[in-house]
Amino acid sequence: MNCNLFKFVLLLIAAMVLSQSVWSQKVVFVPQFTAQSQFAGYYVALQKGFYKDEGLDVEIRHIGASSSQNSIDLLVEGKAHFAGAQLMQGIVARSKGVKLVNVLQLSQRSSLCCVAHFPVGDPEKFKGKKIGRWHKGFSEPCLILDKVANLGIQWVDYNSGIGLFTHHAVDASLMTSFSELIALRMSVGEFPDTNIYRFADKGFDVPEDAIFVDETYYKNNKAVVDKFVRATKRGWEYTRQHQDEALDITMAYMKANHVVSNRTMQRMMLEEVLRLQVNKETNKPDYKPYPKERFKNLSGIMVSAGVMPRLFDYEDLMVGGARKQ
């Protein structure tokens, strides 16, 4: 009798574990940087159970600030199923032969700025200057500007932070409007707007944050991808409606990951990220894929500037756009 009971319990446990594995698809998502409110939507989706609702067991794995790898590297290495990266990063990677596809275009606008210790109304001001850029990437627009305008910029790679700029180790530095620019204001206070070159205002308003998956994984796991995308969208929509709650979740996540920051900066970052998700034409956060015509135009410029080796078809990368268009 006891033996039968024991076997029954064992079977029950096994069934539970099995059901968990059968009904919960485990996926790993790697955002492009350390924990911060730039990724609030994902934390919220995880915390509020949106992924679970879709039957996904999502692990958010951040790259360390000290690591020189980027999220696409981890995708290529198979260490992640979903990777957060910028659109242009994805375009460059695809051009270099990395088989990845864009399944969700979150950001609709460019946040990239080049902040200098001098007024920068004219890009000529950057000629021959030392400009800091992220080692992991995100600097394609400025690279294009460098090549097209023949500025001869001396690039100084760094991992993160504004130290190189505030200590005057560089003449200027690339910054995002939602992160480093805010950090700069939180550190040194007021900073003249004339010293900020915003690419979005200079006709280079290219969307940024997006989610990429391996092409093969996409073909074999379309349903999973759709679920992830759906839950992620839901997470971001909830974040937009409940920003204070989203900040609470994010701050707790950051503390657990020993990421040092403050709520003021994270709130400002979140507000800016949500603004960047709003489509300029529709005035809605509709996560529209980058339009084909613009993609073609951009790709051409990138190849001309030597930022990427070759052109490729829009549909190869933009699966969301291919479906609609």
């Binding site: 020189s68 080692h135 180790a169 560089v170 939180m186 040194v188 040092v260």
Partner: protein
């Protein structure tokens, strides 16, 4: 006034002392800041010197891994301040390696461990602690960060480039300081209850952050912007700009003083003190001072009050005595004054006044009593006099007499005897009781001698004798008397210096009846009076009056006069009937008398009569 001076002085003292306290407190705060900054500078400098010295030494031993290991190990071992140290090589310097570093650290048990850091996961080439000293070729203090994988706490790293003789950076040597030690020191500074000290990094991150003060990950400017207070933002901006100084900020109702200065490594130290704390003891002192002053004022008030009361009591008592005397208590006892001063003289004056007043009131009472008696007697005299007047008027006669005073000198009288109407109207010279007595004598004499068969002249003569005999004061009486035969209308009359009779014939104009000039009665007892005769038509009215009528005057001294009298007679004569009232009353003649009275009263417009008034109206009526 004294209270006001006290209060002004108190306010001045309060303001002055407050200013002094604030100035001294500001200096004290700056001194505290200097002391603490010196302590921190000492620790920082110790790390900088030892690390820089180490970097200098290592320049010669960079190619010896063992020496590198030993260096960092003993560096950490020998220093109480350090938790870790590292020598990180520039790419390619160490045998062409991309990364090579030797890292010594204290673990959680305090034991010193070694690691080799440098990989794709830890690419120190792009980290600020390496890159900045590498690019600037200068030492560098990092922003505070959490050292995960090392000592697992918040630290700041001092990084010093190791350069060759050509100033090429070959490696970077670091020293990690746990911020807990510095944070504890800074957080222990509380010169006042609510004061606090902050230490922020080059980029404004709080170095004295811990879980209890909630400053982990915070920056000075973030906190300033969160306050939404312009003064705080400005003050913090000055701090992050590396300024040295002080500022005053007001947040809500709390005013604070902030003193700040930069340290040589780019960190900034500030001390914030709330004015309410600075002023707490001063406020207590001020309150004590105010209470002492109030108490002093109270005591002074009591003393002054006592003195004033003592000085003014005699005046108060004199005042009360005066009131009592004014109420009629002339026997009021005045207060005793023992001092030989003005108060005694005042008291004596009061006493004299009291005595004089008493006498005066007493005399006044006597006089008033006498006057009242006299007035009473006069009223009696008036009543007697008025009682003496004939009032049983026959139908053809009406008369009115109004003395100017209680008793008067006018008279009228009449009697009918043997179908003959005897009449008399007179005016005694003077007024008052003497005139009234003379009037009585005259009237009595008229009444006595009329109807004895004498002529009117003889009657007047006998009246004259009677009056003259009693005339010790030299008064005289103007009088007109007469008799009318009621059958024939023959009137015999005698005018002794009196106003003429106004004759109002039934037809024709009224006129003054001329008379022979007889002397007034009472002047010469032997004067022979002559009478005259007039035959009256039936319907003739006679108006006899005294000069109280013709000399009635307005306030403007305008006299009624004979002309108005005659004009009235003409007007009235035309309207008043000339027949006797069939019911036997004298209302027709009364109407005449009333009419003349009314006319005179209207003329004088309320002016008081200055003489007795007498009017007699006689109608020799038509049958």
């Amino acid at each position: 006034m004294v209270s006001l001076i006290f209060i002004v002085a108190l306010i001045f003292v309060a303001i002055s002392s407050s200013k002094i306290i604030i100035d001294e407190s500001t200096k004290s705060a700056q001194l505290t800041l200097d002391v603490v900054s010196a302590e921190i500078e000492k620790d920082i400098t110790e790390v900088e010197i030892s690390t820089s010295a180490g970097a200098q030494i290592m320049m010669a031993y960079l190619n010896n891994d063992m020496v590198c290991d030993f260096m960092v190990q003993s560096f950490v071992n020998k220093s109480d301040l350090l938790t870790a140290s590292m020598i990180a090589f520039v790419e390619g310097v160490h045998r062409g390696d991309t990364w090579y570093s030797t890292y010594a650290y204290r673990d959680s048990l305090g034991a010193i461990k070694m690691k080799k850091l440098g990989s794709e996961d830890y690419d120190y080439r792009y980290m600020e602690w390496f890159q900045i000293p590498y690019m600037l070729k200068q030492p560098y203090w990092s922003e505070p960060y959490y050292d995960e994988g090392g000592c697992n706490q918040y630290i700041a790293t001092f990084a010093c480039p190791i350069m060759d003789k050509d100033s090429n950076v070959l490696a970077v040597m670091t020293a990690d300081i746990p911020l807990l030690h510095i944070a504890s020191r800074v957080n222990s500074i509380h010169p006042y209850e609510h004061s606090y000290m902050n230490l922020v990094s080059y980029n404004g991150s709080y170095i004295n952050a811990n879980d209890s003060n909630g400053l982990v990950g915070q920056t000075l400017m973030a906190m300033a912007y969160e306050s939404q207070n312009e003064a705080i933002i400005e003050s913090c901006q000055r701090i992050v700009n590396g300024e040295s100084g002080l500022s005053k900020v007001l947040q809500g109702s709390v005013a604070s003083l902030s003193v700040f200065k930069p340290l040589h490594n780019g960190w900034k130290l500030s001390l914030v003190c709330e004015y309410r704390d600075i002023m707490a003891r001063t406020t207590q002192m001020h309150i004590m001072l105010a209470l002492v002053c109030l108490f002093g004022l109270l005591v002074m008030f009591i003393i002054c009050y006592s003195i004033v009361r003592r000085l003014t009591r005699p005046i108060t008592e004199l005042s009360e005595a005066a009131i009592s005397i004014a109420k009629g208590n002339f026997a009021t006892i005045l207060p005793e004054i023992r001092t030989e001063d003005e108060m005694l003289r005042l008291r004596d004056s009061f006493a004299f006044m009291q005595t004089s007043l008493g006498h005066y009131i007493s005399e006044l009472k006597s006089t008033t009593a006498a006057n009242e008696r006299m007035e009473g007697e006069l009223n009696v005299a008036r009543n007697i006099q008025m009682g003496m007047l004939a009032t049983n008027f026959p139908p053809q006669l009406s008369a009115f007499l109004q003395p100017a005073k209680e008793v008067g000198g006018d008279l009228y009288d009449f009697l009918i005897k043997d179908n003959t109407l005897y009449f008399a109207v007179g005016d005694v010279s003077g007024k008052g009781v003497p005139a009234a007595l003379m009037m009585a004598i005259t009237r009595s004499a008229f009444r006595f001698f009329s109807g004895l068969g004498f002529t009117m002249g003889q009657v007047m003569g006998r009246i004259n004798k009677a009056v003259a005999e009693a005339n010790e004061t030299g008064m005289f009486v103007t009088c007109i008397s007469g008799r009318i035969d009621l059958e024939t209308g023959v009137m015999k009359y005698c005018n002794a210096g009196h106003n003429p009779i106004i004759v109002m014939p039934p037809s024709g104009e009224p006129y003054f009846l001329k008379a022979k000039p007889n002397l007034a009665i009472g002047l010469f007892d032997s004067f022979v009076y002559e009478d005259e005769e007039l035959t009256l038509e039936p319907g003739t009215r006679l108006l006899i009056y005294t000069n109280g009528i013709s000399e009635a005057e307005t306030r403007a001294k305008e006299l009624f006069g004979d002309d108005r009298l005659l004009a009235w007679a003409k007007e009235k004569g035309a309207v008043v009937p000339r027949q006797l009232d069939p019911d036997g009353s004298n209302k027709v003649e009364r109407q005449v008398v009333d009419s003349l009275l009314e006319t005179v009263r209207k003329f004088v417009e309320g002016n008081e009569p200055n003489d007795d008034i007498t009017i007699m109206s006689i109608l020799f009526g038509q049958k």
